[in-house]
């Protein structure tokens, strides 16, 4: 693996311009001051209650995601490229979904094999021929980006179902502004706080035709025990909309209502943070107590907009991911601005044999996995783990893809032994409404706090950083 690109001290250790002020400031600031601020930040997070739950960990039902106080900085020029690429990618994702559930031109053009769609558990036949307002399927996308050098941003993963993390983007900024006003004064950082407004206007813009002129939007959560519950309540609060659970909603005559102290009130748009499977026990899992019986029939009748739409999982599936460059070209007739990580599809015999021969150099991921669970990081794994994985792979090759281990870029990060480079990724949040695609400059930077680690997931010990896009 090549040496990682450091975003502050580029190749050869030359200070990159975006980090000039930060570097100067770091030199002026005594290390204990940083440590002191770090503790203060942690206290603030705990008091605000910004916690997440780790599944399968009864001891720590509510944990804090470690926050690193050193910001990650990008120039306006870097952001401009990234922004263009993200908008292009999300447009393509929406067009792809519209096509898959309607004409299926892309299958007839033999760009994606049929069985990858129709035998995929995240494909929702219920959505066949179902129209959604303004053909928007993915209203909120979280695209995971890594960079490997000064010029190339690479998409690691598309999240088109219920991407989370945006509350950290907003809260990290709040806390940084409280803790480091002087550092802010020395930079011109593009603001992120308009995200809730943009989200609300995107959601309202896709209300069904039967909605009133002032559509009612609600955020649907699985409840307080969900790992992202804090984010759900945070967003509902910032958007000024009701935070509903399945039991607060009722479907009557194919319309959705919420139970209020003044009786039933119609809901037009649901920003749902509940997975497809749990939305409606009549259509999907009958054992779901989180859902609303009849919701899908109201959806089919066109009386409710769900954001994101049902069935978007087929667009962010890791098996489909490898076709994204072709998908972009097919629908937009443009070269993709953001690259994909080269991906071997283990379902294809040629790729599989390459993967089996090179397991110790590759990252192998489950096609349907997420959150960093169930993956093999070849270079970091023991022989025994690799062999165990090899068996799994042979038994069910279509369940896996493989990618080279990328030298993710690094950023200076506070560690027990002072500032040190740590690997980072970035999840910007892309909003699609009836008329335009917008992105608040920045996103959530996740950082792998362990030395040399490439896993940034919060469930696996990753932390977060504030992400600054300098407004030049």
């Amino acid at each position: 693996m090549a040496a990682a690109f450091d975003e502050m001290n580029g190749p050869g250790g030359d200070l990159r311009p975006a980090y000039r002020e930060l570097s100067r400031w770091l030199k002026e600031t005594p290390p204990d001051a940083l440590e002191y601020r770090r503790q203060e930040a942690e206290l603030l997070f705990r008091r605000i209650g910004i916690t997440f739950a780790v599944y399968g960990d009864a001891e720590a039902q509510e944990r804090l995601i470690p926050f690193d106080v050193i910001p990650r900085i990008m120039s306006a020029k870097e952001w401009a490229t990234l922004e263009k690429g993200l908008k292009q990618r999300v447009r393509a994702l929406n067009m792809f979904l519209r096509d898959i559930y309607h004409g299926r031109d892309i299958l007839r053009a033999n760009i994606i094999p049929d069985d990858l769609i129709f035998q995929n558990p995240v494909f929702r036949p219920e959505m066949n021929g179902q129209s959604v307002p303004h053909d928007v399927y993915v209203h909120i996308a979280g695209i995971d980006i890594v960079r490997v050098d000064a010029d190339n941003f690479i998409v690691l993963e598309d999240n088109a179902r219920t991407p989370s993390g945006v509350s950290y983007m907003l809260e990290n900024r709040e806390i940084m502004m409280r803790l480091f006003p002087d550092l802010f004064a020395r930079h011109r950082v593009a603001p992120v706080e308009r995200y809730p407004d943009e989200l609300l206007s995107a959601l309202r813009s896709v209300a069904p035709i039967s909605a009133s002129a002032e559509p009612t939007v609600a955020l649907m959560t699985p409840g307080v025990y969900n790992s992202a519950y804090y984010e759900h309540s945070f967003l509902a609060d910032k958007l000024g909309i009701e935070l509903v659970e399945g039991r607060d909603l009722i479907v009557k005559n194919d319309e959705v209502f919420m139970r209020t102290t003044e009786g039933l009130k119609r809901v037009d748009v649901i920003y749902r943070r509940v997975d497809d499977d749990f939305l409606d026990p009549l259509t999907f899992r009958p054992d779901s107590a989180l859902g609303v019986p009849g919701l899908m029939s109201a959806y089919a009748a066109g009386n409710i907009t769900l954001a994101n739409a049902v069935g978007t999982g087929i667009a962010d599936d890791k098996a489909i991911y490898s076709y994204m460059p072709e998908v972009v070209k097919f629908y937009l007739g443009e070269e993709p601005i953001l690259k994909n990580v080269p991906t071997w599809r283990c379902r294809e015999p040629k790729d599989l044999s390459y993967v089996l021969d090179n397991l110790s150099d590759l990252v192998v991921k489950e096609v349907h996995g997420s959150g960093g669970y169930g993956m093999l990081i070849g270079p970091a794994a023991t022989k025994a783990t690799i062999e165990a994985f090899r068996d799994k792979l042979k038994r069910e090759p279509e369940g896996f893809i493989a990618q080279p281990t990328l030298a993710l870029s690094t950023c200076p990060t506070c560690t027990a032994s002072g500032l040190a480079p740590r690997h980072v990724d970035l999840r910007p949040f892309v909003l699609t409404g009836s008329r335009h695609v917008t992105i608040v400059p920045g996103g959530l930077t996740r950082v792998a706090l362990k030395e040399g680690s490439l896993v940034v997931n919060s469930s696996q010990g990753g932390g977060t950083k504030d992400t600054w896009i300098l407004d030049e």
Binding site: R47, G223, V224, S233, D237, E242, D248, T260, T261
Partner: protein, 314 residues
């Protein structure tokens, strides 16, 4: 607003109020039991603390003897007592988490900080009287802070009114329960009046509803049982009196009724109870039996809770 949100706000306020009340009960009992036996007689004050908290039956399922250690543990920390202070704070936090959007950050901060302190400082209970005193102060301060931040920071809309309903309903229930358990020491039996035993019992009652100083300001008299009953039942100026709780309940219910453009069973019922209190005199109450009066009030009050739930919360 969502019915579930209203329900959570209502119960959140009830739990916080209940935690404070239990803390006051323990505090008042500690003071009485610290007196020489000659002053307090043979009654088991810890037993009556359990009764005022309404958990006597469940206590004896887990313990043999109602002594200080057992009762304090049960009332303050026991996970198996649904009304223990610990459970009240935990339930309050869970309710707060469910309705964060309806709380101001100050209210959330109060409950969340209390919950953190409960685990980090009081996770193992208390091991001395001094610690216990500190714990009880912490609980009372949490309740004051919560109430104060609600009062100072909440919008005056249905969220506020529902939370006030929970507070006053719980408070009325608590005051009535003390009276229910202690009514016998308030009965005007000439031979006892002024005896040291009763005096400290009376002080204890007043203390548990934080009305000892208020008594002196209102009546400018030495402690007299019928005046204490008058203060706690009929005096509208004392925040924990039944009359005051019902003035507030009626007002908050009316505000909801006006905002929603509709009155209902809960407005009627609350007004009925308030009117009865307004037109009662202590003489009549004593004549017809304090005990019966209080019992009737407790069931009327519980009924209001049911009616509010049916009308708004489900």
């Amino acid at each position: 607003m969502l019915s579930r949100t209203a329900e959570n706000l209502y119960w959140l306020a009830r739990y916080v109020e209940r935690a404070e009340y239990i803390a006051r009960t323990i505090d008042a009992t500690l003071r009485v039991t610290a007196l020489p036996a000659a002053y307090i007689g043979k009654t088991n004050e810890w037993e009556s603390a359990l009764l005022t908290a309404g958990v006597s039956a469940s206590f004896y399922e887990a313990y043999q003897e109602a002594n200080e250690q057992n009762v304090v543990e049960y009332l303050a920390f026991s996970p198996s007592n649904p009304s223990s202070i610990k459970n009240c704070i935990e339930a309050a936090r869970l309710n707060s988490r469910s309705v964060r959007t309806a709380l101001t950050s100050e209210m959330w901060d109060t409950i969340n900080s209390a919950w953190i302190e409960l685990q980090e400082v009081w996770g193992k209970g208390t091991s001395s009287r001094e610690e216990l005193a500190r714990f009880l102060r912490f609980v009372q301060e949490t309740s004051l802070r919560f109430d104060g931040s609600a009062y100072r920071t909440m919008l005056r809309n249905d969220a506020y009114w529902f939370s006030r309903l929970g507070l006053h309903l719980e408070r009325a229930d608590n005051t009535a329960r003390i009276l229910d358990v202690k009514y016998h020491v308030l009965l005007p039996e000439e031979e006892h009046v002024g005896g040291p035993l009763d005096y400290y019992q009376w002080t204890s009652i007043l203390r548990s509803v934080s009305a000892l100083t208020a008594y002196h300001w209102v009546y400018r008299e030495t402690l007299k049982p019928w005046l204490i009953a008058d203060l706690l039942i009929l005096n509208d100026t004392l925040p924990r009196s039944l009359a005051s709780c019902y003035s507030n309940l009626v007002r908050n219910l009316d505000q909801i009724g006006v905002a929603y453009g509709r009155q209902g069973a809960s407005q009627r019922h609350a007004r009925g109870v308030r009117n009865r209190l307004e037109h009662s005199h202590m003489d009549d109450i004593f004549q017809h039996g304090v005990h019966e009066f209080i019992q009737e009030f407790i069931s009327d009050n519980a009924r209001l809770g049911e009616i509010i739930t049916r009308q708004y919360l489900i």
